[in-house]
């Protein structure tokens, strides 16, 4: 029941490479985010004292604080990376496919 246009697009080389690239980036960044977060959560659950180590002899700040703040920054940075790549790469390919198949 597929239209001929859909068949054309799905076999289109640009479309295939767009899907492949986008899903690679999406899943890679998702995996990094999930892995970081669940490592952190397991650290909290099993070794809370590790996060309680001080960053230096004289300081009262524990390494848990920069680690926590870094995860927040990493989350923001990863969305920035995705948007940057998508704006540069995917949008162009998308337009190309749509133009070709009008």
């Amino acid at each position: 029941m597929k239209s001929s246009l859909e068949k054309k697009i799905i076999n289109n080389q640009d479309f295939k490479s767009l899907v492949k690239k986008r899903s690679f980036i999406s899943w890679l960044l998702s995996a990094i985010t999930l892995l970081t977060y669940f490592c952190f959560i397991l650290l909290v659950a099993f070794f809370p004292e590790v996060l309680g180590l001080k960053i230096s002899e004289e300081s009262i700040i524990t390494i848990g604080i920069p680690i926590g703040v870094s995860i927040i920054l990493l989350a923001f940075a990863s969305t920035g990376i995705y948007v940057f790549i998508a704006n540069r790469e995917f949008d162009k390919t998308e337009k190309k496919i749509l133009k070709k198949n009008k």
């Binding site: 799905i10 767009l18 985010t33 909290v44 604080i65 948007v83």
Partner: protein
């Protein structure tokens, strides 16, 4: 105690938002305006609105209160709330925008049976919205009673009436602008507080933490994980609930349809993640600032040495300590505005589930004229508002702490798995989705009832039947397994058609090519 500066500032806010509603009402003539603000919101505005939906009074006062109470644990909680956002961006936002028009059910039911899937999605949405709404209403009544010195019932009625006005007249356009204004006010207020706290320490984090540790009863323990998550199962389960729950909240998913295309949807998540992350860093500083500045000041303490009004008042008292009566009034008014904006978003999402999913697609089978659907959505908003006022009043003396957790659990176990699988798994069938989503919904609800939050805290039993506070690990897994099982067992003719339609849906989800 009647707080005049707060009431004055709140009146200014209400006046401004009602003007916006009047302006928006004149522009809200069609379905697309009512549900999605005509798709004309920019990505920065939408990012602020999404962040606004997420920065509820509960998360502002609750997380700063949690930091005040136990330090580092508050940060763990914030991180859990934030990390759902990148995942939403990488896996859902663009596809959702490409496939849907007004509600997330547009996307899930794209190639599946309209009646089955829309009913399921509407059920999941309404339950999530209702639980969230009751929790917000009860919280609002108590907070306003405390801040403004107004009676509880009166406060609940004011919140309810205003939200009905915003939503039924101004639709998504008014709801979005109320949310944006509040987000800007909240971010500015929190920034001011954090700077004021750092100013007293000469902008040294070392001094901030040293002073906080020296006055806090748990001393050094506030610098490391404490009792919030003690066993690994609870830790992972909480993580799953926060992450996938966020990706299944109907009022948040709806915001992706207010921008013009997938590109703007993508950019809005980037802005939203930035604002939310910044906000959580501020609440961490505010919480520690509260330990340092107010936990030793008898002006803010009751006879037992606890905070007046409870730990959730930490940020409010801190506002008084650093900025005096005027700033206290400002932050109180912002807290009130926050509640209003969040309940309006919830009501709109609930009303859309009724009018767009249930009325137009299930009851009228898609054969409905726009005027009728618009009328039904306005009536639904008014009805939902009245129900919320009523439930807010009867739940006054009840313990509603479990409700937000349950809302997240239902969103993660019923809404998210179906949304995700409909886009990513070709072999998902309507029957599989209906049974799996239904089972996920039931499992989440039953496990919360049998768990410590309801069985022990509400019903007063000694031991919970189900030992974990957060059921998401079990209920989300169950939902996925049942959906998978009943989809592969489904050999019906209609299911073959649904599987065949995947490719065409896939093309649309990738490049936004609409089927003519």
């Amino acid at each position: 105690m009647t707080n005049y500066p707060a009431i004055t500032m709140f009146f200014i806010f209400v006046f401004a938002t009602l003007m916006i509603t009047y302006w928006a009402a004149k522009r809200t003539k069609s379905r697309s305006h009512f549900y999605a603000a005509g798709g004309k919101i920019t990505s920065l505005q939408n990012g602020l609105a999404i962040a606004g939906d997420y920065m509820s009074a509960a998360s502002f006062l609750g997380i700063s209160g949690l930091v005040y109470l136990s330090g580092y644990d508050g940060l763990i909680y914030s991180i859990g709330f934030l990390v759902g956002w990148p995942i939403i961006l990488f896996l859902l936002a663009e596809r959702l925008r490409n496939l849907g028009d007004y509600t997330f059910a547009d996307a899930t039911s794209h190639r599946l049976d309209q009646i089955k899937i829309r009913s399921l999605a509407a059920c999941g949405s309404l339950i999530t919205v209702a639980l969230y709404l009751i929790a917000q209403m009860v919280g609002a009544g108590k907070l306003i009673q405390l801040l403004f010195g107004l009676p509880y019932e009166f406060a609940v009625v004011i919140v309810g009436v205003l939200m009905i006005l915003y939503v039924s007249f101004g639709g998504m356009l008014a709801t979005t602008w109320v949310q944006i204004i509040k987000a800007v006010l909240l971010l500015s207020g929190a920034t001011f507080m954090a700077i004021a706290v750092m100013w007293t320490t000469g902008f040294s984090f070392e001094t901030l933490f040293e002073k906080a540790v020296s006055v806090h009863p748990q001393n050094y323990s506030i610098m490391q994980p404490g009792g919030l998550v003690s066993d690994p199962i609870s830790a992972i389960s909480l993580g799953i609930a926060l992450m996938f729950g966020t990706a299944g909240l109907p009022h948040i998913l709806m915001r992706f349809f207010t921008v013009k295309d997938a590109k703007d949807a993508r950019k809005s998540v980037f802005f939203a993640t930035g604002f939310i992350g910044y906000f959580y860093i501020l609440t961490f500083i505010i919480g520690f600032g509260a330990i340092m500045l107010i936990s030793t000041n008898p002006e803010f303490l009751n006879a037992n040495g606890g905070l007046i009004g409870g730990n959730n008042m930490a940020a409010i008292h801190l506002a008084n300590a650093v900025g005096g009566d005027m700033f206290l009034g400002f932050i109180s008014a912002v807290a009130f505005a926050t509640i209003l904006a969040v309940v309006s978003g919830l009501t709109l999402a609930g009303a859309s589930a009724v009018s767009h999913d249930l009325y137009a697609s299930v009851f009228k089978k898609g054969k409905v004229n726009e005027k009728d659907e618009l009328f039904v959505s306005r009536i639904s908003a008014v009805t939902l508002g009245c129900v919320a006022i009523f439930l807010g009043i009867i739940f006054e003396q009840q313990n509603v702490a479990f409700m937000v957790g349950l809302a997240f659990a239902v969103a993660a176990s019923a809404n998210f798995p179906i949304l995700f699988l409909s886009m990513y798994w070709k072999k998902l069938t309507s029957n599989g989705a209906l049974i799996g989503g239904g089972v996920g919904l039931m499992t989440a609800t039953i496990l919360v009832i049998l768990g410590p939050a309801v069985w022990v805290d509400v019903f007063g039993n000694d031991e919970p039947v189900f030992p974990y506070k957060y059921p998401a690990l079990f209920s989300v897994t169950t939902a996925f397994i049942v959906t998978w099982l009943f989809s592969i067992m489904d050999k019906s003719k209609s299911s073959k058609k649904e599987i065949n339609a995947f490719d065409s849906q896939f093309i649309q989800s990738q490049i936004g090519l609409k089927k003519e």
